[in-house]
Amino acid sequence: MAGNAVGLGNFLRFPVQAVNNGGGAFIIPYLVSFLVMGIPLLWIEWSMGRFGGRMGNHSTPYILDSMARAKFWKYFGVFGIWTNIAVAAYYCYIESWTMSYVFHSIFRSFDGLSQSEVAAFFQNYVDISTTTTGIPFEAPIFYVLCLLLNTWILSRGLSGGVERTAKIGMPLLIVFGIFLAVRGLTLGTSGATPEHPDASAWAGLDFLWNPQFDSLSNPSVWLAAAGQIFFTLSVGMGTIHCYAAYVKERDDIALNAMAAGWMNEFVEVVLGSLIVIPIAAGYLGLDWVKQNAGFGMAFQTMPFLFENWGPFLAAMAGVFWFGLLFFAGITSSLAMGTPWMGFMRDEFGFSREKAAWSFGIITLILGLPTVFLYNFGVFGEYDYWAGTVSLVVFAVAESIIFAWIYGIDKGWQELTNGADMKVPKFYKPIIKYVTPTFLLFVFLGSVITPLGGNWGDALQSLFSGNGWPLDNGSIIKQIMNSGLKEQIAAAADDATRSNLEDRLFFINAARILLLAAFVGICLLVATAYRKRVKEGRI
């Protein structure tokens, strides 16, 4: 399970979230979120999954249904399938970058390039109109290849084999990660050049680790921190339920959840923070990092580091690093296929092949817009709604079901059943009160985040009759695309305005596509329900 949890989120998403949410401002909410949301949710999901598995359910709609009497809960379970498909759609794109960069490392595409040229190489790669290898549509080709490989492995039932291979790949990734982390710690200002005179790895580390306590009052930072915890631990997604539905009644789920969670945190906090940000800041400067923070940051910087080691070692390091990242990614993306497959096999009697290929086709339809419209913000849109907001929504629902509807006493018994590990009793009130309250605060706070995160001023404004000033980062303003509309209104020239208007159009189209997928799965759940009633299974 640690193989599934350790993925691209640790090395590629965590640094980006940290940079986009104020560096040191992010770390405190992040760690608090791990302790009061991450750990309890890991236990909740493992317990719910094992309970559901005993009832013959292997995906969230009917796992939730088996724990709660009200019929509507199964529709919350739709999040546990939809999120996996929507995340897999763009996650496979990142995975395909690692695949492509293995290819480019072997063929020495980065040979002799400067820092800026290595960074520009990635921009050209994701810009579909240009090509870095002479192969037209290189990025979509690697994406389709990557998705085909995932689907084929799922259809042949080889995920177990990949997990076993990951048992070798994962320690190798960690060892190589430690080596790179040492480089990140010792790079200092030695990477500065006349082109980037202010480059300093120390500045990157200082930005990331300098605690800023004022962030504690900003719910957007909390939402991002909670979203990262969910994404990296794969909680709030439905993947763990599906995995746990197959474990035995006497297995120690409490210990397994803890081991997977803490190992994941080690890789993310210790290694993830010491590689991409300090190395990028050490070669390109902190300002560049702040302006270019995105999933592509590691692809824009690591090849340059490797190129400094000479041709042979550069190729080896590139293959090793990107190849191992690919391994980390594919163990996670394969897990994302299992909730859909479990649902279709349980409810509609699909064969493994049919379930896997249907997953591949839906993911391809949802994923191609993220590839072709990457520069129009579609990728980021998927990550916001499927990779952040929906995880929190589902987590709120499952924590309420587990602690309040199914009942904390029965839930605690399920968690501790078969546990060699003594689960600390203080986590019982945390699971019952703190986790759902915290999740609700984070979610509601993000829906109505006040302007600049300033709650005092917003309350004053409300009581003086001037209304609640919303921030553009709030979910309400995000839905209304307020920030983008302001940019359009302020555009200095027609070309910029036209580009932003295209962006607005594609972002709305992407939302409609995601919504259509959600509604489609809801209809399938409703059909499955009628089928169950007809067959006398309910």
Binding site: W209, L255, A259, M263, V270
Partner: protein, 35 residues
């Protein structure tokens, strides 16, 4: 790097590494069941 940043980094990493190591060892070598 500021002192605050160094302290936060070191303390966080020591705690995270400690817990990860502890649970990893527990999974590798679980205590014998008494039943």
């Amino acid at each position: 790097m500021s002192t605050g940043a160094i302290l936060t980094m070191v303390i966080t990493m020591v705690i995270v590494t400690g817990f990860a190591g502890f649970f990893f060892l527990r999974v590798l070598k679980p205590p014998k069941r008494t039943e």
